[in-house]
């Protein structure tokens, strides 16, 4: 049965701004299916983003939406969540927004383990400004500011999140569309800071500079490079060379920030037991 996306979309906002073949729309659909699965209340759900192509996502969804400054989504969202812990707070944005200019806010949101879900669309480039290299652009790749190839090593967003203290970390791809909503559902259900990295494509500013002849070639790369964590357990290092693990990569029970602060209030008021 066709899924009713219209129920969650603000009327009159489509077509969206993303380029032909950009996976952000696929991710947005995954998020909408997750919201529907969980039956979240629109007026009790905040979707917060920074700046960039992926950060335009909240404008389309009929919830409390906050399109903030470049890299600052996690900091704004922390204010929303802490002031109103009963709200569901979901963040979204791109790799440059989240791990370069927003890197500090990102790692500290992970460290606090505040109960929010961050969907990072990693297309390995700054798309909106025309294709400059990001902290996730592979070494050697071409970007508008690496005409001789990228000298920088890249971040592994999932490892970064785990290292910084996020208690749920998952990875999917825009090609594996039917997995996206399932990962987001599990992330939102998890109590603590959850990160869902979606490997994405930017045919316009990354693909054409890096010898991808079409959207399809970029999608095929996502298809080929992804290995589910379960499958990887049975593979040897040689077979895993150049592959990227997908699925739930890390899950851990640990104290959640708003709950910990509630204890601070109890102690301050002398009502702690």
């Amino acid at each position: 049965m066709s899924f009713d996306y219209d129920k969650w979309l603000r009327p009159g906002k489509l077509p969206h701004i993303w380029c032909p073949g950009c996976g952000h729309g696929i991710v947005m659909k995954g998020l909408i299916r997750a919201l529907e699965t969980l039956q979240l209340k629109k007026e009790n759900t905040a979707i917060v983003s920074g700046i960039g192509c992926a950060s335009r996502l909240p404008g389309y969804i009929d919830c409390c939406t906050l399109h903030t400054a470049h890299g600052r989504a996690a900091a704004f969202a922390t204010g929303v969540k802490m002031a109103k812990p009963e709200m569901n707070v979901i963040l979204c944005g791109g790799d440059g927004d989240g791990t370069a200019i927003g890197g500090n806010h990102f790692i500290h949101a992970c460290r606090r383990n505040i109960d929010m879900t961050y969907i990072i669309m990693n297309n390995m480039i700054y798309g909106m400004t025309g294709g400059q290299f990001s902290p996730c652009t592979p070494t050697g790749a071409k970007a508008s500011t690496t005409p001789y190839g990228n000298p920088d090593p890249g971040f592994d967003i999932a490892k970064l999140a785990i290292g910084a203290g996020a208690s749920f970390v998952a990875r999917g791809t825009a090609f594996h569309a039917n997995q996206i909503d399932k990962l987001i559902v599990e992330a939102i259900q998890h109590k603590g800071f959850s990160v869902v990295e979606i490997l994405d494509d930017c045919p316009t500013t990354y693909g054409r500079r890096n010898k991808y002849k079409s959207v399809i070639e970029m999608m095929n790369r996502l298809k080929d490079v992804a290995v589910p964590v379960k499958a990887a357990e049975k593979m040897d290092p040689e077979q895993l060379k150049g592959k990227i693990l997908t699925g739930v990569l890390h899950k851990q029970d640990k104290p959640e920030y708003c709950q910990e602060y509630a204890k601070v209030i109890e102690r301050a008021q002398g009502t702690a037991r």
Binding site: S2, F3, H16, C19, P20, I26, F175
Partner: protein, 64 residues
């Protein structure tokens, strides 16, 4: 018993012509007609919904 065919609705004003639905349909149900996707062979559709799931532009609705 006669096979019940699905309906595949393509919203042309949303379609940006990325080819994803056409290329990854396991049964070659879809094709490009000019700049937008179109149904070529509805009978072949196995209702796997991958075209709807992968369409970045909210332009395909498959009703089984």
């Amino acid at each position: 018993m006669e096979k019940k065919l699905p309906t595949i609705e393509i919203i042309e004003k949303y379609c940006k012509g990325c080819h994803i639905c056409v290329e990854f349909c396991p049964k070659q149900v879809l094709e490009m007609k000019g700049f937008v996707a179109a149904v070529k062979d509805l009978e072949a559709c196995i209702k796997c919904m991958q075209c709807e799931l992968r369409c970045p532009d909210f332009a395909i609705k498959v009703t089984a």
